[in-house]
Symmetry: C2
Subunit: 283 residues, 2 copies
């Protein structure tokens, strides 16, 4: 049983805000301290009572027993070494969507053991504290990377915290993580963005094109509403894996194109029958 802790949340947006709600709800926090670069977001977060107060970064670190980072991954790689410099025995954890670079950034830091690298597999296409929701993360997987590099007490607290929220902990090396998420998360965002642009381009000459759009279209395109400030750094940090999956995906699309172009129902049937095997994974 974890004792309630004073927790500083760096970045109170969709992820940090939703986590704040869970930390309070699951009685994991005795005090929630926000740190925000955006004054507008800080005001919203107080209005929605996501955190108890906002403090400047240094004061928040000093006041906290746990420091939780929920900021875009480019800022994470910059900020984390500075935070580790100020840490005494706090637990520090991140929630970012890429892992290799952030872990690399503090690999040789004397306080490395205080840091736990995590990635909860939950999000929505919305952003900011106003998008934070209750009950987030529950029933989903959370990945903890390079667990052996974290101090046992820090690792244990973070695992207990996620278990209490109802998440399933999966351990993985950072390199494997970045490959896996390229295939089951990052590529989905790129296909959605590209599909939105495809149809929006067509709308310029066919203005009524969305009049008949249905649930299937919405399902494949909803992630296209996602925030560029979050996703641009993810795509660039996970460049090699994303280039691999994009190359493969374009190849797969080209197979459909060729089969249609050459009027080949047999090949199309076989491509679709292959794709139907996804039923094994998602019901």
């Amino acid at each position: 049983m974890n004792k309630r802790k004073r927790i500083a949340i760096i970045g109170v947006g969709l992820i940090g805000g939703s986590m704040a709600l869970q930390l309070h709800e699951k009685k994991l926090s005795s005090r929630l301290i926000g740190v925000e670069a955006s004054r507008e977001h800080a005001e919203q977060a107080l209005e929605y009572e996501l955190v108890d107060e906002f403090l400047p970064l240094d004061e928040a670190i000093t006041a906290a027993e746990v420091v939780l980072l929920a900021i875009p991954v480019n800022k994470m790689a910059q900020l984390l070494p500075q935070i580790m410099d100020k840490v005494t025995d706090q637990i520090v954890m991140d929630m970012g969507s890429t892992k290799s670079l952030v872990i690399e950034a503090i690999k040789d830091h004397p306080k490395r053991g205080r840091f736990v690298a995590t990635h909860p597999m939950w999000g929505t296409e919305y952003s900011g504290p106003k998008s934070a929701i209750r009950g987030a993360f529950e029933g989903k997987a959370v990945i903890i990377c390079n667990a052996a590099e974290s101090d046992p007490d820090a690792l244990e607290w973070v695992k207990n915290m996620y278990a209490k929220i109802g998440m399933r902990v999966v351990e993985m090396e950072a390199k494997a993580h970045d490959l896996h998420v390229a295939y089951v998360s990052h590529i989905s965002h790129i296909t959605s963005f590209a599909l939105a642009n495809t149809v929006l381009e067509k709308e310029k000459v066919e203005s009524a094109i969305f009049e008949i759009a249905s649930a299937g279209f919405e399902s494949t395109v909803r992630l296209a509403k996602s925030n560029p400030d979050m996703w641009v750094p993810i795509f660039l940090q996970n460049k090699d894996n994303i280039i691999d999956v994009l190359t493969e995906h374009i190849d797969q699309l080209t197979k459909f194109k060729e089969s249609i172009q050459s009027d080949d129902p047999g090949r199309l049937q076989s491509l679709i029958t292959d794709a139907n095997k996804i039923k094994r994974i998602i019901r």
Copy 2:
């Protein structure tokens, strides 16, 4: 107010079966007669009480006042002229996802006026009578093509029928329909099929790849469960439009690939900001 009619449904699968439930529920049918090539589907449809009885095609046409076709679009183009040969004053309507070819197939038929070409914009990734659901179609758009070629009484009955089910009628020429659906329906299915194949290919060497898949992935890939018997003929009948949209979509994906490959955050930001404009269309 439409008088209840004896309605024959050719093809009692997901679409025909869901329509049967609505016709009964909305008191549009006095009798529902099924026609099915698959004995298994016919037995399931009777078990679920989707229709009152099954009859051979010719008997069903004779017994009916309305003949509704809900079969794959390749079979539609073959079967429709034969059905029109047997029609006296019945109303005949289809519910297929492509329109040019089926309308072309009976363009000069002496009974052309009895036919109304329709495409209700609803479906799921499941198929067969066991997937039929209550309340389907409600609140969605239905497209009626080349309405001027249908007899006024036939057109009026079909429009009233869809209005009673709660659908919004949009009129369009077949050519425009086929272009529009390529962009807001058909391409979504191809991207889902191709994405499923992309990740299933990777699973062959990374067996745990799906362990961490989340809701975003599921959203973009769920249509990959769709039935090839329905979709192969759609892709082939709508070949030219689908090649256009696929070419554009591959171009859009390539822009993402190039921006990532050349580490260009500015261009990525601008591509994603463009895609975010989809918020105007879907909330």
